[in-house]
């Protein structure tokens, strides 16, 4: 038992000899929970997960004997937790609209029973290692929850419960560990969130994470088990991109961490996801989703913890052999929480007030992404996608620049695109993906062998058009050759017909890989045929006026993912349109009616 010495915002200095760094403590009459982050003789510095208002020096402090842990077991899915895994829905039922302090409810429901089916070939006497599957619980109609031996345990199986209904607290197995002492296993176990969960070995990443967003999947792909960042100024669309990923990506489980962002954004998910259908399982989307919500007005220290709680739950599902996506919105708010605590501890700031360990903490966090062979020999992955909110939209600031060095996929959002309402406002010059080569074989098999070539061609056109646009802004469009004006037009077609994709459009919100390829292919076909006509002397102005271009921009919303064949037929229309031109211009034009570019008879 110790006592409070000083209270400085969320940082409380206590007298508590013998406590370990990282240990949880209960503080004051309100029983606020905190975490020891520094020791100095008999004094400990504690960061507290709740507001410290009304605490006074002299109040009691008790060590809880364990670090910050997450509870892992059936009942996580569909839930919303705060940054230290308190169940917000139960808290709402207990205490109403505003959060009261010191209410420490268990993350998992203790009353609810689950139907457990023991693994058929486990027999008492056999050895079971940490991470192996004890049995299963059908958590939702489409999700089998594999009950694991805690990774740090293992030994001889003494007893395994028969099939039946159990609460998470009931013992379902007994094991004698290496030291000979027996342990009781339950449907859930705890794991310290700041320690990565172990696995057998890392595997190479190679399968794209399909998000249904063309600019992401086709142009800057992310792989399952990869790391991505979405930096962008306010209002550029980071949250929308992450919500789209949560909706549409082909993962088994999605964990959405609202880290220091808006309450309404989480309500949006809570209200809409139960009514949306998972395109892969046909079940309500909420059944594969789990939310961690520490909004901007909630205590800042719990915000710092939230991304670790989120990724630990992600690793837990990975260890069951699933593909998990963890999105964190926003990692900048996490870094600010870190900075605030560092500042109150008087640690030396290095860049914009951030402590020196910012970069290493960020790198360690993203390192928890990956494809692994689990301890049970299964394949699982955690894909990490972090939003970054640079102050003033300046990408050279510390959090963005360190993150950029760490991630392999970088979806840079641009204010000027967002201002034009070009969404997703992913800037094709500032973004990158180191996974293009690794993703290409998958696309060649699942979409088209020419995928990589088309992708490169489109990016070339976009880049060339950006350069030409500079020229136009200096000297006007008349300075361009007909071919160059056609490049500008074609890039416009790619922008509007392919890159731009409204999350709000019922048809276009999700675009299958096949449709992504066909759309791009058709638009490049228009470009190719147009270029050819120009060499035959067709005035560019005539090409610019063909109504086909307007149709091409609307193909994305005109054809659903189940109408790929019909969409392909548009190639015939392109062919017919351009053939008509060809017929008119195939013969040498009569000398009297020479038409020059840009001019046209009414």
């Amino acid at each position: 038992m110790g006592e409070i010495l000083e209270i400085n915002g969320p940082i409380v200095t206590v007298h508590l000899p013998g406590v370990l760094n990282g240990a949880q403590v209960s503080i004051g009459a309100l029983d606020l929970i905190g975490e020891v982050i520094g020791l100095d003789g008999e004094r400990a510095v504690v960061q507290v997960y709740e507001s410290t208002e009304s605490l006074r020096p002299g109040e009691k402090v008790e060590p809880l004997g364990h670090p910050l842990v997450a509870e892992l077991g059936p009942g996580l899915l569909g839930q919303i937790f705060d940054g230290v895994q308190r169940p917000l829905a139960s808290i709402f039922e207990r205490s109403g609209a505003y959060l009261v302090r010191g209410l420490n409810l268990s993350p998992l429901d203790r009353q609810k029973t689950w139907t457990f089916a023991p693994a058929p070939d486990h027999k008492p006497g056999q050895r079971l290692e940490g991470g192996e599957v004890l049995g299963t619980v059908q958590e939702t109609p489409s999700f089998v929850h594999r009950i694991l031996v805690p990774p740090d345990l293992g030994g001889e199986l003494l007893e395994l419960a028969p099939a039946g209904d159990y609460t998470v607290d009931q013992v379902i197995a007994r094991i004698r560990d290496r030291t000979g002492s027996p342990s009781e296993l339950r449907l859930y176990h705890r794991w310290p969130v700041r320690t990565p969960r172990p696995y057998r070995r890392r595997e190479a990443v190679g399968i794209p994470l399909i998000t249904g967003q063309r600019i992401l999947d086709t142009f800057f792909p992310l792989l399952k088990g990869g790391k991505a960042a979405i930096p962008g100024p306010f209002g550029a669309g980071k949250t929308m991109v992450q919500q789209q990923i949560a909706r549409w990506s082909d993962a088994d489980i999605v964990i959405y961490v609202g880290c220091g962002e808006r309450g309404n954004e989480l309500v949006d998910i809570l209200e809409t996801f139960p009514t949306l259908t998972d395109p892969y399982s046909g079940r309500p989307l909420m059944e594969r989703t789990l939310l961690v919500a520490n909004t901007s007005n909630m205590p800042v220290v719990a915000r710092e913890a939230s991304i670790y709680v989120g990724v630990t739950m992600g690793e837990y599902f990975r260890d069951q052999g699933y593909d998990v996506v963890v999105v964190a919105d926003s990692t900048s708010r996490w870094a600010e929480a870190l900075r605030e605590v560092a500042g109150r501890l008087g640690q030396m700031p290095v860049e914009e007030g951030h402590p020196a360990y910012l970069a290493s903490r960020l790198a360690a966090f993203y390192e928890r992404a990956g494809c692994v062979e689990t301890l049970a020999g299964k394949h699982g992955s955690v894909t990490l996608i972090g939003a970054v909110s640079p102050p003033g939209g300046d990408f050279s600031e510390p959090v963005t620049s360190h993150t950029k060095d760490i991630v392999q996929t970088f979806w840079a959002l641009s204010k000027s695109l967002a201002d034009m309402r070009h969404y997703p406002a992913v800037d094709w010059t500032a973004s990158f993906s180191a996974y293009v080569g690794a993703a290409a074989p998958w696309w060649a098999v699942h979409a088209d062998p020419n995928w990589a070539e088309r992708r490169t061609k489109a990016l070339e056109l976009l880049t060339e058009a950006d350069e030409l646009a500079h020229v136009v802004n200096l000297v006007g469009p008349e300075a361009l050759s007909p071919e160059q004006r056609w490049v500008l037009e074609s890039a416009g077609l790619i922008r509007e017909g392919v890159l731009q994709q409204s999350a709000l459009d019922p048809v276009d919100s999700f675009c299958s890989p096949q449709k992504q390829f066909v759309l791009l292919d058709l638009i490049l076909e228009i470009h190719r045929r147009g270029t050819r006509l120009l060499t035959l002397g067709v005035p560019v102005q005539q090409l610019l006026n063909i109504p086909l271009l307007g149709h091409a921009k609307r193909l994305k919303t005109g054809y659903g993912n189940d109408q790929i064949e019909a969409l392909r037929q548009f190639a015939t229309e392109i062919q017919n349109t351009f053939e008509r031109f060809l017929q008119d211009y195939a013969q040498p034009p009569p000398a009297s009616s020479a038409v020059t570019d840009g001019e046209q008879k009414p």
């Binding site: 006074r56 609209a97 306010f234 309450g263 800042v300 605030e340 007030g353 709000l504 609307r554």
Partner: protein, 466 residues
């Protein structure tokens, strides 16, 4: 302890009073400070240990002598008295009457810091508010429970715009609503305060208004508590009395400057431009108090005014505000200098909650697409205008000239409107189509062919007249 007065001040600077050797004082507790002339000041404990206590003094620490300052720890948090009689009253930032009427007496008191709303308790805002201002209603729609700031600059008419919104805001199809206005003034001039007061009076809403006033020549530290007091009252009106509350806070920049002053005095590590790293969380504690709650009928819609120092939108105060609020309405000096009112700068303005508050169920089916199209066409038109300024309008192509005319028309007829002009959303949409019909339908790819067939009245003849 509450009865005892201590004379143990050891330092006073920047609104902070440092006290030695008063044991067991609670964080956040209210403090009464008596100076050498027996004048009382109000303070709050912001850091505490048995050796040293930091008190933030709302009236400032000017003219405090260390030996002649007496401090009483009231052992209670900062609270405000709540009753329906608040309506029609004027208070200071700490809730003391400023209208020469007696203080409120009621049993209900609440801590002005409030508590964070459980995100699960929120109801998503979806009810369209018609402000009668085309650029807001059509392009950046406001919904009940939204927090939508006005980003402005010195000399721009943000106060007139805020007052117009307060006068005209109403829900479609709802008669005289059960509304209230909470107005918080931080560091604004006497003239601006009077302007609001008169505007409330002439529109006859004064008896539904509660005002919290801290003027430019009032002590700045009080601005730190003013928005919290104002929002505690707003929460009471909205969630106890079921009112739809519109909160206007002007000007949040003065608030943030006061925060910086205290942070500097405390020696907090600065992040950008001297503002402390916790400015984001601090502003969020204020802004996130807007919203709606499940199964309660009231709401808090928040319109903070943020003046951008040197018109710089990347300055930490507008920047962090934009990262918290659900969009922003940005005013433009350029449009203002061209005598356009309201001078709303369309490209950087945004309403994030509009997507769920417009369309067939709320306004009209084509609304989302026409808004998106106007944005896209206007963005293109502005590029053309740039080009025209370089190469001259004569050298523009025919299609570019159409865009040039579109931009002018859009600004003059759509953006521009009178301060007492209250356009219905249908009138606004009709006007939008009218202006868009100057552009050829092929270029309007954000609209569906059905929209175009129904509303677009493009006549190629018009092109020849150009």
């Amino acid at each position: 302890m509450t009865g005892k007065e201590y004379r143990m001040a050891c330092a006073a600077r920047g609104g902070l009073l440092f006290m030695r050797g008063v044991p067991g004082v609670a964080l956040g507790g209210r403090v009464q400070v008596r100076d050498h002339r027996n004048h009382k000041r109000n303070g709050q404990v912001i850091r505490t240990s048995n050796d040293l206590i930091l008190v933030q003094v709302f009236e400032g620490t000017e003219n405090l002598g260390l030996d002649t300052t007496w401090v009483r720890f009231l052992d209670a948090p900062f609270e405000i008295t709540l009753s329906p009689d608040l309506l029609g009253r004027v208070f200071s930032g700490i809730g003391q009457p400023r209208d020469h009427r007696p203080p409120l007496i009621a049993a209900l008191k609440r801590n002005v810091n409030g508590a964070p709303m459980n995100p699960v308790a929120r109801a998503y805002p979806r009810e369209f508010i018609q402000t009668g201002i085309s650029t807001i209603d059509c392009l950046n729609s406001l919904v009940r429970g939204q927090k939508l700031p006005l980003f402005s600059g010195s000399g721009l008419p943000h106060n007139r715009l805020a007052a117009q919104i307060v006068r005209q805001a109403r829900l479609l199809g709802e008669a005289e609503g059960n509304f209230a206005v909470v107005f918080g003034a931080m560091g604004i001039s006497h003239d601006d305060a009077r302007f609001f007061q008169e505007s409330f009076e002439t529109s006859g809403v004064l008896r539904n208004v509660v005002m919290f006033i801290n003027l430019a020549d009032d002590p700045p530290i009080e601005r730190l508590i003013l928005p919290r007091t104002a929002l505690t009252v707003a929460e009471y009106l909205a969630f106890d009395l079921n009112r739809h509350v519109l909160v206007v806070l002007s000007d949040m920049t003065h608030y943030a400057e006061a925060l910086r002053e205290v942070a500097t005095a405390k020696g907090d590590v600065p992040a950008r431009k001297g503002y402390p790293g916790y400015l984001y969380s601090d502003l969020a504690e204020i802004y996130e108090r807007a919203g709606r709650i499940k199964e309660r009928s009231g709401s808090i819609t928040l319109i903070p005014v943020v003046s951008m120092p040197s018109d710089d939108i990347t300055h930490p105060i507008p920047d962090l505000t934009g990262y918290i609020t659900e969009g922003q309405i940005v005013l433009s000096r350029e449009l203002h200098n061209r005598s356009l009112y309201p001078p709303i700068n369309i490209p950087p303005s945004l309403s994030r909650l509009m997507k769920d508050g417009i369309g067939a169920a709320h306004t009209r089916e084509d609304h989302p697409r026409i808004a998106s199209q106007l944005y896209a066409s206007y963005a293109h038109a502005l590029e053309v205008r740039m080009l025209a300024s370089i190469i001259g309008a004569e050298d523009l192509s025919e299609s570019d000239r159409q865009y040039l005319n579109f931009a002018d028309d859009f600004e003059q007829r759509f953006v521009n409107q009178a301060e007492d002009e209250d356009r219905s959303i249908i009138d606004t949409l009709t006007l939008a189509w009218d202006i868009l019909s100057q552009l050829p339908p092929e270029t309007l790819s954000r609209l569906t062919e059905a929209d175009l067939a129904r509303y677009h009245h493009w006549t190629p003849v018009a092109m020849e007249e150009l």
